[in-house]
């Protein structure tokens, strides 16, 4: 009498196709993934984010002219000049809202660089107005 059955043969499963698929998936995710997350610059939350170019007296107005030049108080200044820094610091101390815009022809990057610079100085109450043709 046969008491025990012969051990069943386990099928020989090949790992090669699995490894192939995993490598292909790995390649796909490596090539299509991006890790840099986009940033954002918030505009004023105290006052409307967008204002009119006709600025009231209690608001500072800066117009981006180009890569490093701005129009403020009736004169062109370098964005990183000590004169502009002093003005911006005074606005910060006075908690003055700042309206920024760009002269026709200036690029969006110039406008963003200006807002970014004002942010780095500590100004937060910034709103934007439409482009201006004449200064």
């Amino acid at each position: 009498m046969l008491l025990s059955k012969p051990a069943a043969k386990t099928p020989n499963i090949s790992l090669t196709p699995l490894v192939d698929v995993v490598f292909i998936l790995l390649l796909f995710f490596m090539l299509t993934s991006v890790f840099e997350s986009s940033r954002q610059i918030p505009l004023s939350s105290k006052s409307p984010a967008v204002s009119s170019a006709n600025a009231p007296k209690e608001r500072a107005q800066v117009i981006a002219l180009g890569e490093d030049s701005v129009w403020v108080n009736g004169q062109a200044l370098s964005l990183h000049s000590s004169e502009f820094e002093a003005l911006a610091l005074r606005w910060k101390q006075e908690d003055k809202p700042v309206a920024v815009g760009g002269k026709t022809g200036a690029k969006i990057q110039h406008l963003i660089s200006l807002i970014d610079h004002l942010h780095s100085i500590g100004l937060r109450n910034i709103n934007v107005f439409e482009s201006v043709e004449q200064l």
């Binding site: 490596m30 890790f35 840099e36 610059i41 967008v50």
Partner: protein
Amino acid sequence: MSLRNSKSTPSVDFSDLGILPLINVVFLLLMFFMIAGTISSQDRSLELPTSSSEEAQARNGIQLEIVESGVVLLNGENIATEIHTQLQQAFRSSESTEQQGLVVRISKDLEVGALDDVLIAIRDLNIKTVQIATQARP
């Protein structure tokens, strides 16, 4: 005559090669890329301006795009001729977006005038929370 020499091409036994650690590492890499990465949309028509801002871009809220050609897109649809009405509808459709606000994604090489229509619509609709999407400086 035997054409195959069994000694020159021996059958490979994976269990002897110690291939399991390799597969483990590959799986871990796969999981890392799947979880940590986001699949890029390859949108070459929209290169965001650079800034030093550390604030991560909000995933929620209404996203408005102005691409290189000046075309205005709201949720992927061209709304160039009716920015005001489409934005108004988008803000009406969900109360939560009111708090999350509007994220403007605009190409850095466009002139500032390309933003004018959108700015006028934002002012008319009295949208208070507005963010401009940027990318980190290289």
